[in-house]
């Protein structure tokens, strides 16, 4: 009877999800209510979790409850800490959820709401969650080994080295792009710049408190910090209204880029307890709070989605970024559907803290479903504003024009009506000088979130506070990615350099710290710089480059997972990882080819460089601008080279894996799994991590 009831409930959930998906896919009339999106996503996730992840856990991976995890066998209270599954879910989610699932869907909304939403849901269920879950499983069975180590052991030595290089390259591109998103959000905005600048002294204050006053009392320190941050969000308005102070905090793109580079260098070289860690604590609390508020706001306000399901820009002529729906929708969405970067977290801290093998399903598969849901909410927030406003915020001046009148005329001519005064009024309401040409996704998401929040609490009166709260929330945790990423990049460079000259590899040697910090900052700083001076707005070039590199890393992770599954004798179910790998290789290689060679100068790096070079040769560029143009040409060729090298590295790794697969399948070589030996758990079946003396 119970079983029958369960079947009836799950059939009802599946039908409800299918109905909601049908409604958002086939709606062509009145604007849809956002609840259809929530319903479609939640029901799809529930069915995917109940059925597909259960199949992966039981049939593919055969999770073993009797097997002791690394956290039990090596419990040292430092790295290996047996952790309750809900707490570890929170840890894992806080680590994987960054700006990607917010910015990616916002940018992809230029194709309309439908392609992005479908890919967010299907991509997560069939690819992203699968990758996170299986890599977590593999690392858990290998005492928490990293992706690079697993690639070296299970695929080949060269494969491991290539994976390590790919991680460093992706880190550099990621940091450059997210820094550009902050620059575009803070440009000419004294309120937002002041708020973010004040988070530095607040973090320093907390750092000293946590180190000397109350060591390790993270909760009370974070609550004090969150209170101070909310205060500076409000205080930012007073700064923006004071002509003298507003001038101090009104910065252009290059000044902001320089400030970020200096900040990240300092955060990387200074002791971690002073600046980096306290900022991370603040960011985690603000992030959790803002995501919960956004979900609650969408449920309470239930806004209508005004963006059409498909726009004319599926043909590749989009103003936010150029390129057809295939492959660029999949490249742009990135982290909300599948993110290679997650495999670094799934093979980092999480596998060392997992209490039972069965928890890997909830943490690996479940946390990625939640991240995908954050992506769907970002899509709703971006599509709930009038499409004309969305395009005015996200399009560069070189396409829509730099004045409100020119932008309104161009965008209206695309079929998205926009009055010239609308953007000026909106900018005034949110306390900004202008909202035009703010490509990067952060300002438009902040406008979307602010409208949802202000419809819940405060109305138009609080719109500006909510907008700046949303900007602060995005900028704060992007800055956390920036400083934590710079520090990790520094360690990677020291490790690589240490192979050539040993002292360089010592992480406590001050010249090594300073030189490696300078190298990593210079590397991503250059990408940031080229984004700031790019006439097409930077995001057009750099976000696809980031998407390609992130998805290439996902392909690397899935190749490692496929190799492990083959060695485990799971040939029958190998399509679970092989199909997502094939899809990722197809979209990344197509996108890489188009970004390098496409004849359209807005898509192809080389053709854009050639157009600029031809303009110099034809004497169309004024003498004063020739050096700047030559730099742009160099940047485009550099981007083409970076894309080609990344694609080539992954192709070499795939060939290495294919050789390995062939030798396993043809039985030329006995497959050797590098799992840790089986040890039976000593814990009672109902042990949940709470009975460690404190329950």
């Amino acid at each position: 009877m119970k079983r029958l009831l369960s079947i009836v409930i799950w059939v009802a959930v599946a039908l409800l999800g299918a109905g909601a998906l049908g409604a958002i896919a086939f709606n062509r009339g009145e604007p849809l209510n956002a609840m259809w999106f929530v319903l479609a996503a939640v029901c799809s996730y529930a069915v995917a979790y109940r059925l597909y992840s259960a199949f992966l856990a039981a049939r593919l991976l055969v999770l073993d409850e009797t097997r002791a995890t690394p956290a039990e066998r090596r419990d040292d209270g430092r790295d290996f800490v047996p952790t309750n599954k809900w707490v570890l879910f929170g840890h894992h989610f806080a680590a994987i959820a960054g700006p990607g699932p917010l910015v990616g869907p916002t940018l992809a909304a230029q194709f309309g709401y439908l392609p992005g939403t479908l890919w967010l849901i299907a991509g997560a269920a069939l690819a992203g969650c699968v990758q996170d879950f299986i890599i977590l499983f593999c690392s858990m069975r290998r005492d928490g080994k990293s992706l690079g180590e697993m690639a070296r052991e299970e695929v080949s030595r060269r494969g491991g080295f290539l994976a390590q290089l790919a991680v460093l390259a992706i880190m550099v591109i990621l940091l450059g792009v997210v820094a550009l998103v902050i620059v575009n959000a803070l440009k000419s905005s004294p309120w937002a710049t002041f708020t973010l600048a004040m988070t530095i002294p607040i973090a320093l204050l907390l750092g000293v408190y946590l180190r000397f006053v109350r060591p390790g009392r993270v909760l009370e320190a974070s609550l004090i910090g969150v209170g101070l941050i909310l205060f500076v969000v409000v205080a930012g308005q007073w700064v923006a209204e004071s002509p003298a102070w507003a001038k101090v905090f009104t910065l252009g793109g290059l000044s902001l880029a320089t400030a970020l580079i200096v900040y990240a260098f300092a955060a990387s070289a200074l002791p971690v307890w002073l600046l980096l860690a306290p900022r991370d604590y603040l960011s985690a609390f603000i992030k959790a709070g803002a995501v919960i508020c956004l979900a609650a706001g969408i449920l309470l306000v239930r806004p209508h989605v005004l963006m059409p399901p498909l726009t004319r820009f599926v043909d590749g002529t989009g103003p936010v970024f150029a390129g057809k729906i295939f492959p660029f929708c999949f490249i742009t969405i990135a982290c909300g559907a599948i993110s290679g970067f997650h495999s670094l977290i799934s093979s980092g801290t999480t596998p060392k803290m997992i209490l039972r093998e069965s928890h890997a399903r909830f943490i690996g598969y479940g946390a990625m479903l939640l991240e995908s849901f954050v992506g769907v909410m970002a899509m709703v927030a971006a599509c709930a504003m009038p499409p004309g406003v969305y395009f005015a915020i996200n399009s560069p001046a070189s396409i829509v024009g730099g004045t409100p009148e020119a932008a309104a005329a161009t965008i209206s001519s695309w079929g998205f009506p926009l009055a010239a005064g609308t953007m000026t009024d909106l900018a005034h309401k949110v306390g900004e000088l202008t909202l035009l040409n703010r490509a990067g996704g952060a300002p438009s998401l902040a406008v979307g979130m602010a409208q949802i929040f202000s419809n819940t609490i405060g109305g138009d009166r609080l719109l500006s506070i909510w907008y700046h709260f949303a900007i602060m929330f995005e900028a704060l945790f992007i800055l956390t990615v920036l400083d934590a990423g710079t520090r990790v990049g520094r360690f990677m460079i020291q490790e690589l350099g240490g192979r050539v000259w040993k002292p360089f590899g010592r992480t406590s040697w001050m010249p090594g710290i300073l030189i490696s910090s300078a190298i990593i900052v210079a590397m991503w700083g250059y990408f940031l710089y080229q984004g700031v001076v790019d006439p097409l707005g930077g995001i057009n070039s750099l976000w696809p480059l980031f998407g390609i590199s992130n998805q290439l890393l996902a392909a690397v992770a899935l190749v490692v997972a496929t190799t492990v599954l083959l060695k485990m004798g799971r040939l029958r179910w190998i399509w679970v990882t092989l199909l997502p790998t094939a899809w990722l290789v197809t979209i990344t290689m197509t996108a890489s080819y188009q970004k390098i060679f496409d004849a359209n100068p807005r898509i192809g790096f080389l053709s854009f460089a050639n157009v600029m070079a031809a303009q110099i040769a034809a004497g169309k560029i004024p003498a004063a601008k020739i050096v700047e143009t030559q730099r742009i040409i160099f940047n485009q060729r550099l981007d083409a080279g970076v894309t080609a090298v990344l694609a080539l590295m992954v192709m070499v790794l795939i060939v290495e894996a294919l050789v390995q697969w062939y030798s396993i399948l043809s039985r030329r070589r006995e497959p050797v799994l590098h799992e840790s030996p089986y040890v039976a758990t000593q814990w009672a079946p109902d042990f949940s991590g709470a009975a460690h003396g404190d329950d």
């Binding site: 419990d75 040292d76 209270g77 430092r78 790295d79 800490v81 952790t83 309750n84 809900w86 707490v87 929170g90 840890h91 806080a94 680590a95 994987i96 959820a97 960054g98 700006p99 990607g100 991680v167 880190m171 990621l174 997210v178 946590l210 180190r211 060591p215 390790g216 009392r217 993270v218 909760l219 002791p271 971690v272 307890w273 980096l276 860690a277 991370d280 604590y281 985690a284 609390f285 990135a334 982290c335 993110s339 970067f341 997650h342 670094l344 977290i345 980092g348 801290t349 956390t480 990615v481 934590a484 520090r487 990790v488 360690f491 992480t507 980031f546 992130n550 709470a690 460690h692 003396g693």
Partner: protein
């Protein structure tokens, strides 16, 4: 009603403990209870030493994603 009054404090206690575990507030207490600290094989760290050492290790590998 009686059931609710019994369940609510338990839920709040668990939530509070989960929150402390999640943000790292109880990390030192956890360390003191760990097998290696209890075994006495190496010197037990003070709260301050443990805090700094834990952060140094935590932020030397990818821990925040895109």
């Amino acid at each position: 009603m009686r059931r609710a009054s019994r369940i609510t404090p338990r839920f709040l206690r668990r939530f509070w403990r989960g929150l402390r575990d999640w943000c790292g507030d109880s990390a030192y207490e956890r360390y003191l209870r760990s097998t290696s600290a209890k075994s006495g094989a190496s010197r037990t760290l003070t709260a301050e030493e443990f805090y700094v050492e834990r952060l140094d290790r935590h932020y030397s590998r990818p821990n925040r994603c895109c």
